[in-house]
C-alpha cells in the first residue's frame, strides 16, 4: 500500500470512480459490504481492484467479544480476501456482541490484563485463519471502565506486541476520545510503536452538548477538523509517512470533496516524506 492518501469508497461514488478513475492512491471499503455471493456490487469492486490498491476494513468481527469467534463471518472475510486481494486488512480494537446479540457498533473494552490477553488471542487466531496480519484500529470512546489498569495507548501497544498485529491509528478517534475523556493526545501518539503502524485514518466529528457539557461524537460526516489535521502532522512526524485514509460515511459529500481532503493529506505526507528522506 503506498504511503499516500486514499479515500473510503462509498456506494454513491462507485460509478463515478469507475468512469473517471480519479487520481487517488488507494481505496478502502467496509469488508461486510462485499460479503455477497455475487451481483453488480461485487463485479464493480473487482473492476476497481484492477486500477487501485484496496484496503478491506471490517466493522463486524467483534474481536473483543467473549462470545466464540463468528466462524461464518470469518469465512466470508476470507472469501473476500481471496476475491479482492487487498493490500491491507483491518478491524477494530472493540467488541460489538455478547450472548449472540449484536449492537453493530464499536464498543469499548476495559483496559485490563484479562482483556489484553483475550483480545490478543482472538486477533492472533484470526490472523492464523486468514494467513495474514491484521491492522487493528483504536476506536472513539465516550465512557471508560474504572477497572482499567492500563491506558488505552498502553493497551493498544500491548495488543500489537502480544498478537503480532499491525496498527491502524485513527487520528480523529484519538482526538475525540482525548477531548471526551480528558487525556493528552500527544502522550497517546508517543506510546505507539512506529514500526507497527500500517495505516492512519482521518475523519470528521460532531460537537454536541450533553448534560450541559461538550461531547464529541465520531460521526464521519464532516470535514477533518483543523485540530485533527494538526494532530495528524504530529503523527506523521512520529511515525513517518503512512497510507492515510479520508473516511466519510454519513451525509456523504460529492467525490470531489473527498478528493480535496485526500489532496490536503497528500501535501502533508509529502512534507513528511521530505523530512524522513
Amino acid at each position: 500500500m503506498p504511503a499516500a492518501a486514499g479515500i473510503g469508497l462509498r456506494s454513491a461514488h462507485v460509478a463515478e470512480v469507475l468512469q473517471t478513475r480519479p487520481r487517488v492512491a488507494w481505496l478502502e471499503v467496509h469488508s461486510e459490504n462485499y460479503f455477497a455471493a455475487g451481483g453488480a456490487h461485487i463485479a464493480q469492486l473487482e473492476r476497481i481492484a484492477e486500477f487501485y490498491p484496496l484496503s478491506l476494513h471490517g466493522v463486524g468481527l467483534s474481536l473483543g467479544s467473549t462470545d466464540p469467534l463468528d466462524l461464518r463471518h470469518l469465512e466470508q472475510l476470507r472469501h473476500a480476501l481471496r476475491r479482492f486481494e487487498p493490500a491491507l486488512v483491518s478491524e477494530h480494537l472493540a467488541w460489538s456482541s455478547v450472548g449472540g446479540h449484536h449492537a453493530n457498533d464499536l464498543l469499548p473494552l476495559p483496559y485490563t490484563e484479562e482483556a489484553l490477553r483475550h483480545v490478543s488471542r482472538r486477533i492472533a487466531a484470526v490472523q492464523d485463519a486468514l494467513g495474514r496480519q491484521l491492522a487493528i484500529e483504536n476506536v472513539s470512546s465516550y465512557v471508560e471502565f474504572s477497572s482499567s489498569r492500563l491506558r488505552e495507548w498502553e493497551f493498544l501497544a500491548g495488543v500489537a506486541a502480544e498478537s503480532g498485529c499491525g496498527l491502524l491509528i485513527d487520528v480523529n478517534n484519538i482526538y475525540v476520545s482525548a477531548r471526551n475523556l480528558g487525556f493528552d493526545p500527544e502522550v497517546y501518539l508517543a506510546a505507539i510503536p512506529p514500526a507497527a503502524v500500517r495505516e492512519l485514518h482521518l475523519a470528521g466529528h460532531t460537537r454536541v452538548q450533553a448534560n450541559g457539557r461538550e461531547l464529541l461524537i465520531d460521526t464521519h460526516g464532516a470535514p477533518v477538523a483543523e485540530a485533527v489535521w494538526g494532530l495528524y502532522v504530529r503523527a506523521l512526524a512520529r511515525f513517518g509517512a503512512r497510507p492515510t485514509l479520508i473516511e466519510w460515511d454519513t451525509d456523504v459529500p460529492p467525490l470531489a470533496t473527498l478528493l480535496a481532503e485526500a489532496a490536503h493529506a497528500d501535501a502533508l505526507l509529502g512534507a513528511a516524506h521530505a523530512q524522513f528522506a
Binding site: E32, N33, F35, A36, A37, G38, G39, A40, H41, I42, A43, V59, G60, L61, S62, S65, T66, D70, H73, Q76, W95, S96, S97, V98, G99, G100, H101, H102, A103, N104, D105, L107, L109, P110, T112, E114, A115, H118, Y142, V143, E144, F145, S146, S147, R179, N180, L181, G182, Q209, A210, N211, G212, R213, E214, L215, I217
Partner: protein, 263 residues
C-alpha cells in the same frame, strides 16, 4: 471485580434495552467513568448509534415500505421489530429477513395488510441483488437433449431468481413508489393479485408479471421437478400455457441457465 463477560453483558443490556436506568445500568454506574457529560450521556451515544445503524439498514432495504408509512411510523415499527428480533450478526445486511413477517403480524388482519406483501417483495429484491452469479446458458447443451430424455430432464434457474405471489397489485405499488421524484399514482388495492418473477440482469433486477401457467412452470422447476411434470402442472394451472414459448422466453431472459439429467 466483574469479569469481562459480565461487563459486556451489562453494557449491551444497557444500550440495547434502552434502559440505562435498569439493573444493568445501575451496575455499570459503578464500573464506568466519563467526561462532564456523564455516564448516561456517554452510553446514550452507543445506544443511539446502535439504533441508528439498525433502522438505517432497514430503511435502505425497504424504501417503498418506508415511503408508504412515512419516517415516523417506520422508525417506530423498526424499533418494535428490533426489540422482538435484535441483530444476531456483525453483518447488517441480514437484518431485514424477518421484517416482512413483522408487518404480517402487525397488519395482517387490517386494511394495511398489503404492507407485508410489499415488504416481502422488497426483501426478495434484496436477495436477488446479492445472489451468486451464473454464466449464460450454453444453448448447444439444450440442442443435444433427445426428446426421450425429457422425463429425466431438469432445468436450473438463475441463483438470483425469486418468485413472488400476492393477493394485491404489489408490483404496481412498488413501481409507483420507487419514483420518489413524483407523487405516486393511485393504486386500486382490489385490482387483483400478481405473480412476479425477479431476476438479476446486467441492468439491475428485472421484475416481470407472469401468467398463471408460467408461474406454475417456474415453481415446478424451482422444486427440481422434471421437465415433463413441470409442463403438465403448468397446463393444469393454465390452459393457455405454451411450453415452447415459455421455455424460449425464460432461456432468452437468462431465467433458466442450465440443465441436468436426473439419474
Amino acid at each position: 471485580m466483574p469479569s469481562l463477560r459480565e461487563l459486556q453483558s451489562d453494557f449491551l443490556a444497557a444500550i440495547l434495552g434502552g434502559d440505562a436506568a435498569g439493573p444493568a445500568g445501575a451496575r455499570l454506574e459503578c464500573e464506568l467513568v466519563a467526561g462532564g457529560y456523564g455516564i448516561a450521556g456517554g452510553l446514550a451515544v452507543y445506544a443511539n448509534n446502535a439504533e441508528h445503524h439498525f433502522i438505517d439498514s432497514l430503511r435502505k432495504s425497504f424504501p417503498v415500505v418506508h415511503r408508504l408509512v412515512g419516517e415516523a411510523y417506520f422508525a417506530r415499527c423498526a424499533r418494535e421489530f428490533r426489540r422482538d428480533q435484535p441483530s444476531r450478526s456483525g453483518d447488517l445486511h441480514h437484518l431485514g429477513a424477518g421484517f416482512p413477517a413483522y408487518w404480517q403480524r402487525r397488519h395482517g388482519d387490517d386494511h394495511y395488510r398489503y404492507l407485508a406483501a410489499v415488504a416481502r417483495l422488497e426483501w426478495l429484491h434484496e436477495e436477488a441483488l446479492t445472489a451468486a452469479d451464473h454464466p449464460a446458458f450454453d444453448l448447444a447443451k439444450l440442442a443435444r437433449v433427445p426428446p426421450t430424455a425429457y422425463d429425466t430432464l431438469r432445468f436450473r434457474l438463475h441463483p438470483s431468481l425469486r418468485l413472488f405471489e400476492s393477493e394485491f397489485p404489489t408490483l404496481a405499488i412498488w413501481e409507483a413508489n420507487r419514483r420518489t421524484e413524483q407523487e405516486p399514482e393511485f393504486i386500486d388495492l382490489s385490482a387483483g393479485g400478481e405473480r412476479v418473477l425477479l431476476v438479476r440482469t446486467t441492468n439491475g433486477i428485472a421484475m416481470h408479471r407472469l401468467a398463471v401457467g408460467e408461474f406454475a412452470f417456474l415453481q415446478q422447476i424451482e422444486q427440481a421437478r422434471g421437465f415433463t411434470d413441470s409442463i403438465a402442472a403448468a397446463e393444469q394451472a393454465d390452459v393457455e400455457f405454451d411450453a415452447t414459448v415459455a421455455l424460449e422466453k425464460f432461456v432468452r431472459e437468462q431465467v433458466i441457465v442450465d440443465l441436468w439429467e436426473h439419474p
